[in-house]
């Protein structure tokens, strides 16, 4: 994206909502209210929200909640969800045991 984003732009006050207690990120148990509050604390990109709250950082890596989070953040900022870049997906695709992941090289390097 890389477009100029003045983080002092007025997005209005935080108004508590009746569904603020709803769990959005189930892995990390983050609620809608926490996500909305984080936007008012300045977290205006999905990457910042993720780093600040841990949404999408659990076992499913955001495969369940990332679209929901995007919608909530966009509404809070008064922009279209299409304007928000998704957070980066990371290797590995599925959680994988350390001993399996380590098998990428033959184990003759016992001296290491």
């Amino acid at each position: 994206m890389n477009s100029v984003n003045d983080r002092s732009r007025d997005i209005g006050p935080f108004v508590p909502g009746p569904d603020d207690d709803m769990l959005i990120c189930r892995c990390e148990e983050i609620t809608k209210g926490e996500i909305r509050m984080a936007v008012h604390d300045g977290m205006w990109t999905l990457t910042e929200i993720r780093r600040y709250l841990r949404t999408g950082m659990g076992l499913c890596q955001g495969q369940t909640c990332s679209r929901l989070v995007k919608g909530i953040v966009a509404r809070e900022l008064g922009i279209s969800p299409a304007e928000l870049e998704p957070a980066t997906s990371r290797v590995p695709m599925r959680p994988i045991e350390m001993k399996i992941f380590a098998n990428e090289a033959p184990d003759e390097r016992e001296d290491g």
Binding site: M1, R7, T45, T47, F101
Partner: protein, 375 residues
């Protein structure tokens, strides 16, 4: 949009955010320009979370010791965010006699400047951390070291600075600095011209190119570091861990996951496609390293890996402070992959330097002008 302030900070990482916060607390008007779309997008959110003194070069030790004494203990309250700071010591582990030599040398030099760090043997190591394998024969032990969460700490500084009125603008990569009437004055981006009486360049690796536009060149280059994180595990230990040859380092987080960083030895020759990406070799290599020290973690699942550029200088310590040739210009860069733990002290001291011209900790040895050719 605001384009004039008393201080313009280039770089919205933890150094820039922390300095902005401490300046704003002193009532100074600040604009922070971040080149990427996200606050804290470089090393600030890609590091392993160490808040340690042991293993550091003695030139930067007084500064990090100052921060651990005066700033870290109350940082969560101050930033109204859980920085997850743990001060439960650092074990820097060794498996060979060569490791013992490296660790002993580092410990001796740190003790000379007043740090409580000592060598312990394998049994003592396992008394502190019973999960370590018998391959570990020694470690340096620094009880006042620890770890914290780099993500919440960086964004916590940002949140509080913004709350105190600091202007943050992301997506504003700086292309040029301009000196007017012998003083730093303008900061140029593709979209705007910003003006300030003081300018701090804290842009990590990009600092070099930015400073070059006013004739200052700090010898530094990029080097990739990679990290991985496991699923949440039952609580095992609270120490920060490292190894003599930096095979891996890491800790268990409050969340329960283990964050480990490490290297493959091939990082200097990684492909550079403009963004730090994981090499397929490194995370498996880190896993092999970890399992030699912690056999119990063999079944822990890795959920995510990531990479980040270090801004590496030729002597391994940062450039910090004023620039003699250009009044009003300050630098804070080349933290060599260990800028997180030292960041609160850097931010607080730089803010004092900019406002009063003085610091509590002498920054003389970190002057940017110290680089000399070998003959």
């Amino acid at each position: 949009m605001k384009t004039k302030a008393e201080v313009i900070i280039i770089g919205g990482g933890i150094i820039g955010c922390a300095t902005a916060y401490y300046l704003a607390k002193m009532g100074i008007e600040v604009i922070v320009l971040e080149g990427s779309d996200h606050i804290g997008n470089g090393g600030s959110s890609r590091n392993g979370g160490g808040v340690r003194q042991s293993g550091r070069d003695v030139r930067e030790l007084p500064l990090v010791m100052y921060g651990i004494r005066n700033l870290w203990p109350t940082l969560s309250e101050e930033l109204e965010v859980d920085c997850e700071y743990h001060q439960d010591g650092n074990l820097r582990l060794g498996k060979t006699e060569k490791h013992r030599e490296i660790l002993t040398r580092l410990a001796d030099s740190a003790r000379n400047v007043g740090l409580d760090v000592r060598m312990i043997d394998g049994d003592e190591v396992r008394a502190i951390n019973p999960y370590l394998s018998d391959e570990v024969i020694c470690a340096s032990w620094c009880p006042t070291d620890g770890h914290a969460n780099p993500l919440t700490t960086t964004l916590g500084y940002y949140k509080m600075a913004r709350r105190l009125g600091v202007t943050f603008i992301t997506g504003e990569p700086v292309t040029e600095l301009r000196v007017i009437k012998g003083k730093i004055r303008q900061v140029i981006t593709p979209n705007h011209v910003y003006e300030g009486e003081n300018v701090l360049v804290a842009a990590g690796l990009d600092s070099r190119e930015i400073l070059t536009t006013v004739g200052i060149d700090i010898p530094m280059t990029n080097s990739l570091l990679e990290c991985l994180v496991t699923e949440a595990q039952p609580h095992m230990f609270d120490q920060m861990l490292g190894t003599a040859e930096a095979d891996f380092y890491g800790h268990q987080t409050k969340h329960g996951s283990f964050v480990f960083g490490g290297s493959s030895g091939l990082e200097r020759y990684n492909k550079d496609n403009g963004t730090p990406v994981n090499s397929s070799k490194t995370a498996p290599c880190i896993c092999r390293g970890i399992m030699k020290y912690f056999p119990d973690l063999a079944n822990a699942k890795i959920v995510r890996t990531w990479a980040g550029w270090m801004d590496a200088s030729s002597d391994g310590v940062p450039s910090l402070g004023t620039v003699d040739e250009i009044p009003g210009l300050y630098v804070a860069c080349a933290f060599n992959g260990h800028g997180f733990g030292i960041a609160p002290a850097v931010g607080e001291q730089l803010a004092k330097l900019i406002v009063t011209g003085k610091t509590d900790v002498d920054l003389g040895e970190l002057h940017y002008d110290r680089y000399k050719a070998k003959i």
